[in-house]
């Protein structure tokens, strides 16, 4: 049996007034009453309540919040995606399913015929956005992924993803 190391902790002797509890209770009451009256004040700016009345008041997300995906558009309204498969390759949850099709315009070559994201599998890591070479997929829609009643509703297809899409500031195709 080895010796057990015991470290005696110095305890501060309580003063007389601390033993009577009275000033300490008064201090505590001052803190709680401060909160109480501040949160009752008619000026709502002074209140400290953190509660958000959720369904009535929208939740405020930080600017870089990763919400539901969206597919960005070209200037003519077509999808920016060129079906390079970078996102579906890097996706750790394997939730992006792309089937490429040949585009009529020879300068574009490929476009996604189907582009389905299974939001139930998505782990919201944002790697697809990082991997995308042409700024076609983003997660900055500002909406969180809603609850789904049926599994089928969680498969978001290309047109649905494009509805929230917008124009990108990046130049499509880059320098040639």
């Amino acid at each position: 049996m080895g010796n057990v190391e015991v470290k005696p902790v110095e305890r501060r002797e309580r003063t007389f007034w601390e033993k009577t509890y009275v000033p300490e209770i008064a201090k505590g009451l001052a803190v709680t009453m401060g909160h109480f009256f501040r949160n009752l004040s008619p000026n709502k700016e002074r209140r400290q309540t953190f509660t958000r009345q959720y369904p009535e008041e929208p939740t405020h997300y930080p600017p870089r919040y990763r919400g539901i995906h969206r597919l960005m558009l070209r200037e003519d309204g077509q999808v920016r995606c060129v079906a390079c498969m970078c996102c579906s390759t890097i996706c750790p949850a394997n939730c992006i399913h792309i089937e490429a099709g040949e585009h009529d315009d020879p300068s574009i070559e490929k476009y996604p015929q189907t582009f389905v994201i299974d939001e139930l599998r998505c782990i919201v890591c944002g790697l697809c956005v990082e991997a995308c070479p042409c700024d076609a997929i983003r997660m900055d829609s500002g909406r969180h992924i809603p609850p789904y009643a049926e599994r089928g509703e969680a498969f978001l297809d290309r047109d649905l993803l494009m509805e929230a899409g917008g124009l990108s500031m990046a130049k499509q195709g880059g320098e040639r």
């Binding site: 009275v22 209770i25 505590g28 009451l29 709680t32 909160h35 400290q48 509660t51």
Partner: protein, 386 residues
């Protein structure tokens, strides 16, 4: 017959219109809303009454709670003593209401002309005093209040024993130990007050608190017995079994103490009994130490039969008050004092952590008891000398 009717009206108004209303509203406003404000939350505001599109400060929640309590399944544990298990909630609840029999909400009604006699005594000229604002007027009101407060130990102890559960039994034992310990210092802290007033009649005590020292300071209990006020406040809080003295419930140690095995309205009655006891202690403190129905405020204004006098240490001019206004002011003063004290007790509840069991006993026997004895001795000396 009219007397019987007046008695009935008094009982209905005081018990249902004041005590039950305040106690049940406290379950919501005191416990849930007030704690929310202290903890930077909003508190319950989702329940709505039909056709009223406003949260109404969360009041519908307490109606919803009542309905929920009524509709829940009544569970009596195996091996419980069925009869005692059934009557224990009533034994907790009854004393909390019975005590109100002696609480005066106003001086007796004077059917003649209310006048001021020398020595600040109010006399009724050409009429008689009629007891309209106190359920029962008798000269041992304080003793009655104490006797009733002690009886409520039985409810908790029986509830703990009859439930056939170790948690309940521990809670019952704790509550009886705690209440008996604090009853001692509660009674002793009041002995000094009794010596000064020389009466056990609660209404007479309040009357005497209308006397003025140096012609401006009302002789409130807190003025002549400040230490006793603190002792009584502490012991009274311990007596109501609310935090920081809520060891009998102690949810982190013994689930819910003596109410562990109670469900439905029996549970609600137990809880309401505790709230009613809180209101009762607040009323008792108001009567004994804060001038009861006396509408004066020390240093700011004095209200008595002659009228109202502002800044009494400067001016001596009374503005006349009609008798009806005086009655209204006094009832209002009593109600406001009680509500403020209830609020303060809830404030303490949400400020302080729960005492450990040994700390409660040390506080009761080693601190409060010697202090109240010392207070008694000093008061006795001073009274004997003066």
């Amino acid at each position: 017959m009219p007397e019987l009717l007046i008695e009935l009206i008094k009982i209905l108004v005081i018990v249902f219109g004041f005590v039950m209303a305040v106690a049940s509203l406290m379950t919501l406003l005191g416990d849930r809303k007030q704690s929310a404000k202290i903890q930077n939350r909003i508190g319950p505001n989702r329940a709505r009454l039909p056709f009223i599109d406003s949260p109404l400060a969360g009041i519908p929640h307490f109606l919803a709670d009542g309905i929920k309590m009524l509709l829940k399944e009544n569970i009596v544990p195996d091996g419980a003593h069925k009869k005692l298990h059934l009557i224990a909630p009533a034994l907790v609840f009854l004393p909390a209401l019975l005590g109100w029999a002696g609480v005066p909400f106003m001086d007796h009604y004077c059917s003649g002309d209310l006048q001021m006699a020398p020595g600040y005594r109010e006399v009724c000229v050409g009429g008689e005093w009629k007891n309209y604002f106190q359920i029962m007027n008798f000269n041992a009101g304080l003793l009655f209040a104490f006797a009733i407060a002690s009886v409520s130990v039985y409810g908790a102890a029986i509830a703990g024993w009859a439930s056939n559960s170790n948690f309940s039994l521990l809670g019952g034992l704790r509550s009886s130990a705690q209440m008996i310990s604090y009853e001692v210092s509660m009674g002793l802290s009041l002995a000094g007050v009794l010596m000064i007033y020389g009466t056990l009649d609660l209404n007479e005590m309040v009357r005497q608190q209308g006397y003025l020292i140096w012609d401006w300071l009302p002789r409130w209990g807190i003025v002549v017995q400040p230490l006793a006020f603190f002792l009584f406040f502490l012991a009274g809080m311990a007596e109501t079994k609310r935090a920081p003295f809520d060891l009998p419930e102690g949810e982190s140690e013994i689930v819910a103490g003596y109410i562990t095995e109670y469900s439905t309205m029996k549970f609600a009655i137990m809880q309401l009994g505790e709230y009613a006891a809180t209101v009762f202690i607040a009323a008792l403190i108001a009567i004994l130490f804060l001038g009861g129905w006396q509408a004066s405020f020390p240093g700011l204004w004095v209200v008595n039969a002659e009228g109202v006098r502002f800044l009494p240490w400067l001016s001596h001019t009374y503005f006349h008050l009609p008798y009806a206004a005086l009655i209204g002011l006094r009832i209002l003063a009593m109600v406001i004092k009680t509500l403020v004290l209830v609020w303060l007790q809830f404030m303490m509840r949400w400020t302080l952590p729960r005492f450990r069991y040994d700390q409660v006993m040390v506080l009761g026997w080693k601190i409060l008891l010697p202090l109240s004895l010392a207070n008694l001795v000093v008061t006795a000396l001073v009274v004997a000398i003066i």
